[in-house]
Every structure is written in structure tokens, then in C-alpha cells.
């Protein structure tokens, strides 16, 4: 097992900052780093200031928050559910959020806050439906976390089916809007959205980081967790709900961005991290870097066409993961 070195922290932060600066500087109108820094301070060409402050900076920050939220959420879920294939979207969050968004689209809600809110409500609703389903499946007993995982998958599958039915008869515009959203995109980033997501990530992520040691114990199994003084059922549900909220907030802000929540925690573990407090932080930093880099690629590689961000995260992340997998085994 690789030993995590403290020097990895400044390295992870530095990589994120460099990628973020490159992402702010590049796009349809390339800017130099000097112009970017001046624009950030409100100096120089007003067009450059507008591009940096109103377009690219919120977009990059949105990417940071989405990536951090998904990475941390995945790290918690894999530990708490003791499943290396667990990821935020598996729990019905994505399906529920998509139902919410599509519903908003088809009811004519085209303004951003409406769709964001509808997606968030849909994602959260799916989590609570999954909780209810898991309780029903438990014959009135305490449902264990595996039941919860299965319930999440079932709710997600149902939601996806509902979307297909809804889209089959929807107007082409609605279909296009919904599809774009389902492929994930940071293109509609606004400061309002950034602030809203930052608050959500801070609350749900902060609560999870606060309780991270409980997840270390939970990862040993429910009986062992109980013997170490953790109410396994409550702690597991709390981790489930908080990480699902975290994921729902990111989905509402930028649509479905696959792969990050699944693989980024494994990359962080590959660096030698096991305890969930540092693991969540590292997964957050790596996830943020990956999404910002992917978004940069999405808008520059085939410009002026924008590629779906959700696909790019996978295209960028898979090779990186494979290299690491080889080194690990």
C-alpha cells in the first residue's frame, strides 16, 4: 500500500489552481495570464473584464464545486455502504433530479432558477423515496445499508424510465434542453448558481467532514461499528442522505456528470488515503481539477461546438485511472 506523503496536499492544490487559471485564460477569446489577473482586479479592457468576471470565472468555480461535491460524495458513499462500485448517481439522485428538470422543462419552466430548483427537489425526493422503499423492504425491521443501495438503484431506474416516457411525447425543444442537461454542462454558470452551490457544498460537505471518523468505523461493517460505539443504522443513513444532498446540489447546478463520483475516490485512495476526512478532501480537490480540466476541453477542443462535459470527464479520467490501476496491482 502506498504511503500518503504530506507534500501531496500542496501539490493537489497547486495543480487545481494552475488548471483553473488556464481554464479562465482560455476559450473563444484567448487571454494572457497577465490580462486575467488584471481583469480579476477590475483593470484593463472592459471586454476582458466582462469575459473573466462574468463568464469564465463563475464557470470555472462552478466546475470546482461540482467536482469537489461529487468526489467527496462518492468517497463517503463507497466507505459507508462498503461498496467500491457505489457512487452518488447510483442512489436515485441523478434519476430524481432529471425527472425534476424534465418536468420543469415540459411545464414550460425555462428560467434557470426554476430548473435548478426543480432538479434539486427531484433529487432530494428520490433519496427519501429510496429510504422509504428500503424500510418497506425490511419487513418493518431496521433496513440495512445494502437494502438502501438496492432501493436507490430501483428508484433511479424508475425515474429514468419515467424520463424516457415523458421525452417520447415531448416537443423537440424540450427534448434538446433536457438531453443537454442530462449530458452535463457548466455552460449556464451564473454567480447566483455558484453561490447557491457553494452554500450547499459547504453545508452538506462540512457536515460529512465533521462526522468523517464515524464513516471510518462504519466502513468496517455494521457489527464492528456498533462494537466501537457507532449507531451503524443512523450513521449510515446520515451519510447516505448528506452525500445524496451533496450530489443533488451538483446535479441541479450542472446536470449529470458521470464518472467523477465513482472513480475520483479510488484515485484518492490510490495515493494511500483511507481515513475519510483526508480522503474526502483529496477526492474533492481531484474531482474539482478533473471537472475544470474537462470543462476546458469541452469548450475548446471542438470550438465553437461545445462537447458534453459528462462525457469528457470520463474520457479524461479513464486513462488516468488505468495508469494508476496498473501501478497499484
Amino acid at each position: 500500500m502506498r504511503r500518503f506523503r504530506p507534500v501531496y496536499w500542496p501539490t493537489l492544490v497547486a495543480i487545481l489552481i494552475v488548471i483553473a487559471i488556464i481554464a479562465v485564460a482560455n476559450g473563444a477569446v484567448p487571454l494572457t495570464v497577465a490580462v486575467v489577473f488584471n481583469a480579476l482586479r477590475g483593470r484593463g479592457d472592459p471586454t476582458a473584464i466582462a469575459i473573466v468576471r462574468d463568464l469564465r470565472l463563475p464557470r470555472v468555480l462552478l466546475g470546482v464545486l461540482v467536482g469537489a461535491g461529487l468526489g467527496a460524495s462518492g468517497a463517503v458513499l463507497q466507505g459507508a455502504l462498503r461498496n467500491s462500485l457505489a457512487e452518488p448517481y447510483l442512489l436515485g439522485v441523478s434519476g430524481g433530479a432529471a425527472v425534476g428538470a424534465v418536468l420543469a422543462f415540459s411545464l414550460g419552466g425555462t428560467t434557470e432558477p426554476v430548473i435548478t430548483l426543480a432538479a434539486f427537489v427531484g433529487g432530494v425526493a428520490a433519496v427519501f423515496v429510496a429510504l422509504a422503499v428500503s424500510r418497506a423492504g425490511g419487513r418493518g425491521a431496521r433496513a440495512d445499508l445494502r437494502t438502501l443501495l438496492i432501493a436507490g438503484v430501483i428508484v433511479g431506474a424508475f425515474a429514468n424510465a419515467a424520463i424516457m416516457v415523458a421525452l417520447a411525447s415531448a416537443a423537440p425543444n424540450t427534448v434538446r434542453g433536457a438531453l443537454w442537461w442530462m449530458m452535463g454542462s457548466a455552460a449556464d454558470a451564473t454567480w447566483q448558481r455558484v453561490v447557491w452551490l457553494a452554500v450547499s457544498v459547504a453545508i452538506a460537505g462540512g457536515a460529512l467532514i465533521y462526522r468523517a471518523r464515524e464513516i471510518d468505523v462504519l466502513a468496517l461493517g455494521e457489527d464492528t461499528a456498533a462494537s466501537l460505539g457507532v449507531d451503524a443504522e443512523r450513521a449510515g443513513k446520515r451519510a447516505f442522505v448528506l452525500s445524496a444532498l451533496l450530489a443533488a446540489a451538483t446535479v441541479a447546478a450542472a446536470g449529470l456528470i458521470g464518472f467523477v463520483g465513482l472513480v475520483v475516490p479510488h484515485i484518492a485512495r490510490g495515493m494511500g488515503l483511507r481515513a475519510h476526512r483526508p480522503l474526502m478532501l483529496a477526492a474533492g480537490l481531484i474531482g474539482a481539477t478533473l471537472v475544470v480540466a474537462a470543462d476546458l476541453a469541452a469548450r475548446t477542443v471542438a470550438a465553437p461546438t461545445e462537447l458534453p462535459l459528462g462525457a469528457i470527464t470520463a474520457l479524461l479520467g479513464v486513462p488516468f485511472f488505468l495508469v494508476q490501476l496498473r501501478r497499484l496491482t
Binding site: 419487513r139 471518523r213 461493517g221 457489527d223 483511507r274
Partner: protein
């Protein structure tokens, strides 16, 4: 000290009680064994002590306090448990794993201090796994892993230790060394409650055996009291001969082969 009084455990939807009015005491300085056929309620008693099973009647007490009224963290400083199964999904360094035994003392935020570090060190050495501290859990053999798990429980520094089938899948030498370890831990003052199928080993090491059958105590007492052929035959539903362990004279059980005849002569291949 662990005490269960008229304990009843019932699982939702089950037609019968898994544990049906069991009472016994596991005292400090003694190795108490909980034995009995599969499904006789051994693990359910452990689950009840961990507050992971519903107790409609009776009580499970740790140092005189009812587990139902204890907080989870108080419970964890009173009893340490090595559950039947446990496998970390993500391999972890042995030292970090054993250090998780300090969670009941550290809680969510307190940084480990000198006392915690020394508890982990002593636990590793008591369990004889100090040299494994830097290994990852997925590189350990079955015997090493069981010892590491015992070290994790010892790091809790609880006065009572409960183990559920700690020697399953282990070879003779590893099995013996775990029993020797448990015996020395009990002599050092811990209340050790051991759930085990290994009647022969239990008979040699335990101070007291509680033999369960269908959720009730069939018999309990010293190994010599409990290990009689008639009783064991009735409980296990299989012909059994009880002889003496040649070294220390403890009762030793020999289940018979079919056809169920006591064979005094040398076994031959002609049977069938």
C-alpha cells in the same frame, strides 16, 4: 462483567424466539464459552449485547448496567467485540486498523494522545502482531487477520471482551494459539466471552461452558459437567463418545461415523 438475565431475542417475522430466556454471567478473570449447535442463539446473544437485536424481555447487563439504556459510546468502552465476519472493503494498514479501536475514546475530533498510542502498541504486542503493523490488511493470512482483529478490540481497553467464532477457518496451530491468547487475556483480568463451535478446545480452555439448544440453556457449568455423551448426543442429534484428553484430562468429544457403533477394534475398510 457481562450478565444476561432471562434474555429473550426475537427477530421480526420469526415464528420463534431466537433466544428464549437465557441467564448466565461472564465474570472478570474467567473464560466463559457460549456453545451449541448452529442456530441455537449464540450469535443472537452477542447481537443483543451490541444493541443490534430487539430485546422484548429480560436484559443484558454490562458491569451492572443495562445495555439498552447505555449510550453506544459508553457501551463501547465497557465491552469490546470481535464479530464473526469482517472484511474491510478497502485494505488498510494494520496500525491504522488497530488504532480505530480507540474511536470510543477519541470520538469525532479528538487527536490521539500518548495514552491512545500506547494502548495501540500494547494491544499489538498482546495479540502478537507488532511486526505486522505496517502491512496492509489484504496481505494477511487468516490467522494473522484474526489476531489483528483481536488487537483492535484490545485497543478499546474495555474490561470485557466478546469473540464470535474467532477460530473459524484456522488450522490447528493458529486455533490453539488464539485459544492460548484468550486464556491468558482472561487470566490477566478481562471477562472473556467466547462463542465457539470447537467443543474440544472450549473444554480444555474455558472455565465455564454455557451450552445452548433452541435458544435455551441446555446445560451450563464446568467443562466436566457439561461434556457428557448423553447430553451432547441429545443436543447435537449425533452419536458422540466423550473420552479424556490424554495431556490434561479434560473431556474430549469424538463424534462417531456411520453406522453408529462403538468400534473397539481397529477401524477397517470393510464397513458399509
Amino acid at each position: 462483567m457481562i450478565e444476561v438475565r432471562n434474555l429473550v431475542v426475537r427477530y421480526p417475522g420469526a415464528s420463534a424466539n431466537a433466544v428464549d430466556g437465557v441467564s448466565f454471567v461472564s465474570e472478570r478473570g474467567r473464560l466463559t464459552a457460549l456453545a451449541g449447535p448452529n442456530g441455537s442463539g449464540k450469535s443472537s446473544i452477542v447481537r443483543a449485547l451490541l444493541r443490534r437485536a430487539h430485546i422484548p424481555q429480560g436484559s443484558a447487563l454490562v458491569d451492572g448496567r443495562d445495555v439498552q439504556t447505555l449510550s453506544y459510546s459508553d457501551l463501547a468502552t465497557s465491552i469490546a467485540v470481535v464479530p464473526q465476519r469482517e472484511e474491510p472493503v478497502f485494505p488498510i494498514r494494520v496500525l491504522d486498523y488497530v488504532a480505530l479501536g480507540r474511536y470510543p475514546h477519541l470520538g469525532l475530533w479528538r487527536a490521539p494522545g500518548e495514552e491512545d498510542r500506547s494502548a495501540v502498541e500494547v494491544a499489538l504486542s498482546q495479540a502478537g502482531v507488532s511486526d505486522l503493523a505496517d502491512r496492509a490488511t489484504d496481505t494477511l493470512s487468516g490467522g494473522e487477520w484474526q489476531r489483528v482483529r483481536i488487537a483492535r478490540a484490545l485497543a478499546q481497553r474495555a474490561p470485557a471482551l466478546i469473540l464470535d467464532e474467532p477460530t473459524t477457518f484456522l488450522d490447528v496451530a493458529h486455533e490453539m494459539s488464539i485459544f492460548e491468547l484468550l486464556s491468558s487475556l482472561s487470566r490477566s483480568g478481562l471477562a472473556v466471552l467466547l462463542v465457539s463451535h470447537q467443543l474440544n478446545l472450549v473444554a480444555r480452555f474455558a472455565d465455564r461452558i454455557v451450552l445452548l439448544h433452541h435458544g435455551r440453556i441446555a446445560v451450563s457449568g464446568s467443562p466436566a459437567d457439561v461434556m457428557t455423551a448423553e447430553r451432547l448426543e441429545a443436543i447435537y442429534g449425533w452419536p458422540i463418545v466423550v473420552t479424556r484428553d490424554p495431556a490434561i484430562g479434560a473431556p474430549a468429544l469424538v463424534p462417531l461415523r456411520r453406522p453408529f457403533q462403538l468400534q473397539t477394534a481397529h477401524p477397517t475398510n470393510e464397513r458399509r
